[in-house]
Each structure stands twice: as structure tokens, then as C-alpha cells.
Amino acid sequence: MAADDVDDVRDAADVREATTTATNPEAIGYTLGEPLVDTASPDGPLAERWRRRRFEAKLVSPAGRRERTVIVVGTGLAGGAAGASLAEQGYRVVQFCYQDSPRRAHSIAAQGGINAAKNYRNDGDSVRRLFYDTVKGGDFRSRESNVYRLAEVSTEIIDQCVAQGVPFAREYGGLLDTRSFGGVQVSRTFYARGQTGQQLLLGAYQALSRQIAAGRVEMHPRTEMLDLVVVDGRARGIVARDLLSGRVETYLADAVVLATGGYGNVFHLSTNAKNSNATAIWRAHRRGAYFANPCFTQIHPTCIPRSGAHQSKLTLMSESLRNDGRIWVPRVPGDDRPPAAIPEEERDYYLERRYPAFGNLVPRDIASRAAKQACDEGRGVGPGGQGVYLDFADALARLGRATVAERYGNLFEMYERITAEDPYEVPMRIYPAIHYTMGGLWVDYDLQTTVPGLFAIGEANFSDHGANRLGASALMQGLADGYFVLPATLGDYLARQPREDVPADHPAVHEAVGAVSDRLYALLSNNGDRTPDAFHRDLGELLWEECGMSRTEAGLRKALEQLPALREDFWRRVRVPGEGRQLNQSLEKAARVADHLELAELMCLDALHRGESCGGHFREESQTRGRETGEDGGGEALRDDAGFSYVAAWEYAGAGEPPVLHREQLHFKDVHPTQRSYS
């Protein structure tokens, strides 16, 4: 994509169509709490902060580390890297994943690459430029200090991964190859064909495996965290279910690290793995961890459309396809002729028409919304009218089949395997899908949540991507958190805590185990008539419609009305066959859907309260004027810096109680917020 880097600075006030609706807490259903401040971040020059933080951090002695146990939940890039690194430092690590092996975490499916400010190409890249691109790409809704650190650490990640034997793509001279990605003008993305996530994850997994074999990481595969144990205000352990035996057990530790990924599966259909879920972060939220910016979800425009109601997940194809493919739909709604039968003048290349400067290469969110608009107008193609054409006919004529095959051969193959259509002959059909969640547990500069001793890393936290994530930055953030940031900051927390064991019969432990057991029992004994999947589909449809690519006050209010009813219906009618003391995938699913139903409500509430459009969050009320008239620059996202330049951190106030909003004001000293424009 070539467009995330426009430097068109416009005054937001000039183009505002309508001020967003007054965000009166009571009218929306939340209460306003104390402002939140990130006290862990040092001040001073940006470039000095991380060095300063590390120096000022208290250290745990080598002998002391042996005495300290850290629980890490999740084994993706962030969790795998953290588990291995902490064990190397000498901590006792107890780690969990729901998969049968730590190697299967969903980081494995990332295709594109990983950014790093190495400037190997001598093309003007620098830590500062990566920092700037990331803050700007995030639509100025992230913290400067966090993002700067991310950019700084990025170079070390590449060194680390190469040393582990990650087979990055190389040039003939034997040096690392890079490519340009995500619309930036520098070539800073390192990659391993289309399997960068897999290779990076295997690197972390192998480092973790070494520690497991050495007995310094106690690994619990097929074990799912179902609750957090908080003792005297500090996170001291988790309650987890052994998915094979069904046993619910407590694991106690000195600190707990959540590396459980994002919550995209709230939408039922997403590019996430089928079993990815929000239970760990949601349960932590219910135990006191604030949830930040839940409405910031990212939609990827080039996914393979669903083929029917049986669809279980969506498959993403690299965005690079838009470099040579042209996106179009029929000009007239309801035109169901095969694509080849539609003459040129009856096609609408809507991106080229509306955004002549960027054409098919507009950013993800714009391309996605435009596709949805076309389909909403009845001009969508394929089954159910949920798709648009991505046509390579021109590219094939211009470049020849061989060149196209060289560039996109593997993607064409993948597409054909799934759809049985040959993209060399028939245009591809694509449709947007939920892909990544920028929101997550609120963390400070140390990656610590509002529950002392509970840390969140990787996609599970909200920290670095603001309202929109740049391509090839998710892998960077996961590994930065896991290899470098957490291992440096966790020690500071532990060094400041007296070492004391929590007795296994502590009331807080009993309470947590009891809560989990009760919930599971309720699911198992509820002799209803609908499967968890059926409810998940309903939830996904509602959320996709009202809290998906574009959101309106009316739609969000409707969703907020319907969600409690759906949740009630779930608890009344869900049916979970089988028993608890065995491998029971229906039970696992039901418990996850139950949490998704709760989180969805917070997402809609957050989306409703944030009356601006920014990044992946598009509120139809907040857009530039002139969409209907087709005026240049009309209908684009309009950010409201005066009203919403803050992180929305939500506190759980109890079942049925309105959540409490804590705002963390964002300050931009090193970059000046600008408004995006692509027309």
C-alpha cells in the first residue's frame, strides 16, 4: 500500500461536517472515572527514555530469580519469546497454551513480514522514521514513548532472530533482503517468503523448547486459563482447565504475564485461528485490569469472501495483490452476469474513480469501507453479494502470465484451492474481514496492567498501534515485548515485592476456583436447544453489521440493546453435550462465546462513546463533507483531536453495572498530529 504516508496537513476544523454527538456518559451508559496516567514512563528526551528506564529498574539477583515463579499464558511471538527469555534469565517459568503444542499459536499465520529500522538499504530509514510512521499510521492514538521504544528495539529483534536460525530471505551476496510494505517509502520489512510469522514463531518456540527440556520452563499445553487469582490487590496466579482431563487447577506465582493475543474472534468470522479467544484478557478485566480502546479493530480488505453459512473462518491474502489488481463491481445493482460478460463501460472501478491519486492502493480501512459500500448498494458479486472483483486481466496483458505468476503465484494457488476458480481466467473475489485488534488490556510503559503483577504483552495489550496498525508491525511488537521489554521491566516489579507464598487454600484461590467451576457447571447442566456456535454466529453478524467497518450511533445503540438479550438467551438456551471431566470441545467453545458476548458489549459502548473517526474506527457521523455529491475529499474519516486525543481505559464495575471510563490523555511533543487525506 502506498498511502499511509501522506503528509497532507489539513485543519480538521475546516472540513468537519457535523460535530460528533455529545458524549454524555449517562446517555450512553457509563460513568466517568479518574483520569489515568502512565507513571512508569520516564520523561526527558524520547531517545533516552528506554535506556533510562532500564537503568533505573531494580534488579533481581541471580539467586533471587531462582526463587521467583512467573506464569506466562500463551506461546505466540510475545509469549514464546517472553517465556524463553525469562527462563534464560533464571526465573522459574510456568507456561500455558490451549493448543497441543506451543508451536501452533496463531502468530504462525502472519504472512507479510517484520519491520525493523536497520536502514540496510541506505534509503533514509531510521528509528525516528519508523517511530513517526507508526504514530502516524496509528492515527495519533498511541503513546509516543512506547512507540519510540518499539522502533528502537526493532533492530535488535532482527539480530536475535537471525542468531536463532530464522531463515529470512537473502540476496545473492548473502545479506538480508528487505521489501517495502504497508505504504511506507523505505524498504524496512524483513521477510521469509509468505511465512514470516511461522518462521519467527518457530525461532521463539525452539528457544522455549530448549528451556522446557532444561526443566526451567514447566510447559502446560492443552491447558486454558479461565480466571485470574488476585491476592491483596496483586496478580498471584491463574485458574486453568486441563483440556484433556477437564481438571480445574490453580497455579500460583509471583507475577502473571498474559500473551493471549487479540479478540478478533468476537466477530465469529475473522482471520484469527478458530480457537483464538478473549477469555484470558476478559477474565483479567473482570478482576480489575482496565480494557483500553476495545473498539479499535482492524479490517483487512483482501480476504477470500465467505462461501456459505458453513464458513468457519476467513482466509487473508497478502495486500500486495492490490499493487497489480484492479478492484471493481458492476455499475448497476443486481447485475449477475459473469464478469467477462460485463463490458468495460458497465464496470465501476470505484477506488480509481474516488481516489484518483492512490487508486487501488488506498489504505486498508478506506479500501474496506468502499467495498462494503458497494456491496450495501447491491453491487456486490459472488454468493450472497458479499464480494468485489480484484481483476488481473490488465496486469496479465501488461506483464504477461510469467511475471504475474512470479509475483503472486502462491496467492493465486491458495485462492484457487479454496474457491476452485482460476484467477488467471476469472477475476478474484475479495471481501474485507476482521484481522487484528489494536485495543486490549491497558498497560503502562512497563507493560503492566492496572492490576499490579499482571502484565500483558503482544496483541493482548493496547500499547503501540493506536487506532490502526501498520503492516508488518504486529510481529515486531510481539517480539519486542517478549524478548526485550518485558524481561527488562518485570524484574523491577519483582524486585520491589517481598517474596511470600500464597497458601493454596487462600480464600481468593477458593473464590476463583469456585467461580470457574460454577460457570462450567452452569454451561454443562443447561439443557438447552442451541449450540454455542449458533450463538457465536448471531453475535458475529450483529457485531459485523453494527460495530464493523463503519459505525453509527443508531446502529451501536441497537447493538447495545440487543446484546444483553442475546447473552440472556445464551445462558437460557445453550446446549453443551458431554461431561466436564474429559476433552470437551463444545464446553471450551461455550465458555469462550460466553466471554465474547460480554466483551462485545464493551466494544460497542467504546465505539459509541468515541464520537470521532480514527484509524480502524469509522463513525459515519464524523466524516468530511461531500460524500453524497462525490466531491473530492468527501466522506473521509474525520478525527477529533480536541475531543478524543486519549486512550479510553475501561474499568469493570461489576455485573450489570455501567463500566467506568478512565481517560489517559495523549501528548504529542515530537510529532504533530495531521489529518489523513487520500483523494
Binding site: 531462582r66 533464571g90 527440556a213 532444561a214 526443566g215
Partner: protein
Amino acid sequence: METALPTVLGMALATRTDRRPSPARLLWRSTIGKKAVMAVTGLIMLLYLVSHLLGNLKVFAGPDEMNGYAHWLRTVGEPFLGHEWFVWLARCVLLAAVGLHGVSAYQLSRRDLAARPVPYAARRRATARDSYATRTMRWGGVILALFLVWHILDLTTGTVNPRGRAGHPYENIVATFSTWYGNAIYVVAMLALGLHVRHGFWSAAQTLGVNRPRRERALKATANALALVLTAGFLSIPLAVMTGVVS
């Protein structure tokens, strides 16, 4: 959570056992090592078979040539070696090769069968790679072992040979191939040999690490050629006796 923590933290840890068994032990204990033993002994036997075939083809040159060759074999290395020393040396090496090959095969087979105790209910069609030769290695090996016993009793010791005159292999050979069962046993065994060599040679190359992506085709072609030449070569003798070319 019990862990064996290192005494010194922060250094790269020795996570493995400190001493390994001797190379011979390591080989004999591991599946790859034992397979390498099979490969090497198999190649020794293969080498022997090639020279054995070359010697046997002297049968076409008539009884004098053949018997002379047989006699010469017993004098190889003289006067440095004593009479028949070379033959006995070769027999010892071959016996060891057969023994090691057989024991390894037996032990590996037992292990392999134990590693896949439950068969699949659905049988699928054989793939290109899964040739008949591959699937018949075990039974083929047993057939060859039995044949070997008969073959030695027949033509080396002459115990079961219809004629059994020591020092006159030509006549003994003709006698064997003048019986229907002699021909039958021999033909079956030589077909088994061809199949065994066909997969065995390729397998040995793979086991000893000689195979590389670029050599794969050449190795398979060599295996096929060897199998064909050996089978055809050995079968030419009973065929010649049956058709009266040799009598």
C-alpha cells in the same frame, strides 16, 4: 515446578548428557546407525554378487573355463596366502555381512512393527513411491536367506546337489538346472533378488547420506540398472541350461 537449576545463572547451559557412548555403540543402538550397518553390509554383498555374476558367466565358455576359474579362486593370493585362504576370508566377510544384515533387519523390523501397531481400516491405492520392491523388502529378505542356505548346500557343499561332485561346478550347475525344482527355486530367488537390490541400493544410498536432490534420479536409475543386470545375468544360466545352450 521442580526444576534442575544450573549452578551458574546467565550462562548458556549444558542441557545434555556429558558423555556419549562409543561410536560403535552409538551406531548399533540407534535406528540410523543400525540402518547404516544394513546399508554397508548390503553393499558388500552387492559387490560380491557382481563379481559372482561375472564369474558365473564363464559357464558360457564351457566346462574347462568354468572349472578352471573355480580352481583359480582357491589359489588366489598364493604363495602369500595359503591354499583356499582367500576363499575362506571372503566367506568370513560375507558370513559376517549376512549375519549383521539379518540381525539388523530383524531388530529394526520388530521395532518398526511395534511403532505402528494399529493398521488403518481404509486401504488406499499404492502411490508411485511405494513400489512393490519397497513393500516386499522383508519377505524378499527372508526368501533370499532361505535361498542362500539351499544354494550353499547345493553348489558349495554339494549336499543336496543331484550330482554333487566337488571341484566340478560346471557339471553341478547343469545338474541343478536340469531339475524343475532347481529352476523354480532359482527363478523365484533371482526375482526376489532383483526387487531387493532395486530398493536396497537406493535405500543404502539414502541411509548413507549419498542421496541429494540432484542425484535422486541418477541413483534410482543405477538401482534399477543393477537390479536388472543382476537378475537377467543370473537367470541367463538356468535359461541356457533349459534351452540346451549349456549342457
